[in-house]
């Protein structure tokens, strides 16, 4: 085996023969348009980006290692903190993976409420993207509008789980509890006016000549590059890859819903902007269908050794008390095996690879998050373009450092 090639970061970027004209610029980790703690080392020739090197790991907390020391049900609150703008999507992906290992059937009502809330999560994630992306470009107003709607979504999350951001509402085997009365009506009221709100954002931005010229033709990513670099989600679909896990690898009963998957072949930042706006409209359609067809019944699977009993049953029935005690103190054993469960999060393909050795703690939990792969495409998209375009491109890949560093 040949030796390992590695370059120390600070000596590296200046290209051979260009040491006099080129300059190395450090962007981040404390920079508002890097959306967290992304650090970019840029080699620039005047204002043209020659090379770009993302340096990550500032938010690394070793969540994958921590998971190995927890019971299966204790991992759920950790997952919230990874992609902190899409908490329910994290919960869903982890729960689906463990349920696949357990081969557990989930009641229909729980599945539908999961769909409903994950689509609200997608709206939440896209609203933050839109607000911050526009703010990076200089359109400050939109931020206030999108946060108005996001606030309402966070209040609904608070209704169901008691938490605005770190919800931990989904459980292995269903949901933590029946959602409170009035939730569905509140979501209905929100959904009724939301398409008008999307028009409102669109009116502020789509016809805006400054916004258009900052975005159009910037950050070109060809379909071949997108496939080679492992790019997924809206960025991939804006480069012509017609793939959405919800439609093409359905999970959590998405095959029962009618929606379109927008695809564009323009490959630029502008296409990603339009595509995400359309995705929000499609999410509204899914939420409406979920509300219309919401089935009744329980929200927890009938699996007393896995799902915690109701409080009432626990206090009145000996057997429930024993199950409760066992689950809390010893966890539950999961049959040995390995699964890789993917879902479509707001940013792309989120996958949980869970390996069980037959005990109550996972042997290995690996999270595949879309941002980690998409970040590699940043250099391809920025090379040879102006420094100011880097900011537009970072905004368009909707970066969340929590999911990259884990």
């Amino acid at each position: 085996m040949p030796d390992i090639v590695g370059t120390p970061i600070l000596e590296a970027p200046v290209a051979e023969g260009a040491k006099d004209q080129h300059m190395v610029l450090n962007m981040g980790p404390q920079h508002p348009s890097t959306h967290g703690v992304l650090r970019l080392v840029l080699e620039i020739d005047g204002e043209i980006v020659v090379r770009l090197y993302p340096e990550i790991g500032y938010l690394h907390t070793g969540i994958e290692k921590t998971c190995e020391a927890k019971f299966y049900q204790q991992v759920i609150p950790l997952t919230d903190r990874i992609d902190y703008l899409g908490p329910m999507a994290n919960n869903l992906c982890y729960c689906l993976a463990v349920e696949k290992l357990l081969e557990l059937e989930i009641p229909e009502r729980a599945v539908w409420i999961r769909v409903l809330l994950t689509e609200l999560t997608r709206l939440n994630s896209h609203l933050i993207w839109l607000g911050t992306h526009a703010m990076d470009i200089g359109a400050l107003t939109v931020f206030l509008y999108t946060f108005r709607e996001r606030e309402e979504i966070l209040r609904m999350f608070e209704m169901v789980s008691g938490q605005r951001m770190m919800t931990s509402y989904f459980r292995i085997g269903g949901l933590a509890m029946e959602p409170p009365l009035g939730l569905l009506e509140r979501i209905q009221a929100f959904i009724k006016t939301f398409p008008e709100k999307i028009d409102e954002y669109s009116n502020l931005l789509t016809g805006n000549p400054i916004f258009f010229r900052r975005l159009k033709g910037v950050g070109h990513l060809s379909k071949e590059d997108a496939i080679s670099l492992g790019v997924t989600g809206p960025v991939a679909r804006a480069s012509g890859i017609d793939f959405d896990n919800r439609r093409d690898a359905p999970y959590s009963s998405y095959e029962k819903f009618q929606f379109n998957v927008p695809v564009s072949t323009d490959c630029d930042v502008w296409a990603r902007y339009l595509l995400r706006l359309e995705e929000m409209r499609q999410s509204v359609r899914i939420i409406q269908q979920a509300l219309d067809g919401m089935p009744g019944g329980p929200v927890k699977a009938n699996a007393p050794k896995i799902v915690l009993p109701d409080r009432e049953a626990m206090k009145t029935q000996m057997e429930s008390l024993i199950h409760h005690f066992k689950i809390v103190t010893e966890g539950f054993a999961v049959p040995a095996g390995e699964v890789f469960q993917c879902i479509e999060s707001g940013h792309g393909t989120m996958g949980y690879y869970v390996v069980s050795d037959g005990t109550a703690k996972p042997w290995r939990v690996h999270m595949r998050y879309p941002g980690f792969a998409t970040l590699q495409a940043l250099e391809v998209m920025c090379k040879g373009r102006l420094l100011a375009d880097v900011v537009a491109v970072i905004g368009s890949i909707d970066i969340v450092l929590g999911e990259i560093d884990r």
Binding site: G6, G57, I227, F340, F372, A373
Partner: protein, 168 residues
């Protein structure tokens, strides 16, 4: 694709008999019939095991067979079992709308395999992560440095003999 088959199949012989028309199985057999060391179909997921020196040719064969998208790769530490490490590659086919897992076992003594960045550039960060957290090296990788941890970090935290709370 996988919907047609719901029963679990364990072992190479069972998979070859039970799903001979699966495009991934066909692609690997066309490449090298004895290259497939083991196979398993479990919980709707197909796992194909190859020798660690065959990872790159096997993935090239799968790529030619329609599995065009590299989705994920990671390692599992089976300490104290021998061989110690398992590498798992998850490959998606946009055409067949199907995912498969390619598996290879790596010894502790010289944990090194060939990098797959020559097939999919996107494997770059994933291999760096495995190098960083497991200490498995990838030959012919363009820039094999630590990615999540600082450059002067000691040890590889996702190994099972590394304490959860770290060294104090």
């Amino acid at each position: 694709m996988a919907d047609a088959q719901t029963k679990a199949l364990a072992g190479k012989a069972a998979v070859l008999e039970g799903m001979p028309d699966h495009p991934a199985v066909k692609a690997l057999l066309a490449w090298k019939a004895e290259g497939l060391a083991d196979a398993r179909f479990d919980r709707g997921e197909l796992t194909l095991t190859v020798d660690k020196d065959d990872i790159v040719p096997a993935l090239r064969a799968l790529q030619a067979g329609g599995y065009d998208f590299f989705e994920d790769m990671t390692a599992v530490d089976w300490y104290p079992s021998v061989p110690r490490f398992q590498l798992s590659y998850h490959i998606l086919s946009h055409g067949y709308r199907d995912r498969i897992r390619l598996r290879a076992m790596v010894d502790e003594a010289d944990p090194a395999v060939e990098s797959i960045t020559s097939i999919w550039q996107g494997a770059n960060y994933f291999e760096r992560e495995v190098f960083d957290l497991f200490g498995i090296r990838f030959a012919r990788h363009p820039n094999l440095r630590r990615i999540l941890l600082p450059d002067d970090w000691k040890g590889h935290p996702l190994r099972k003999d590394y304490p959860v709370e770290g060294y104090r």
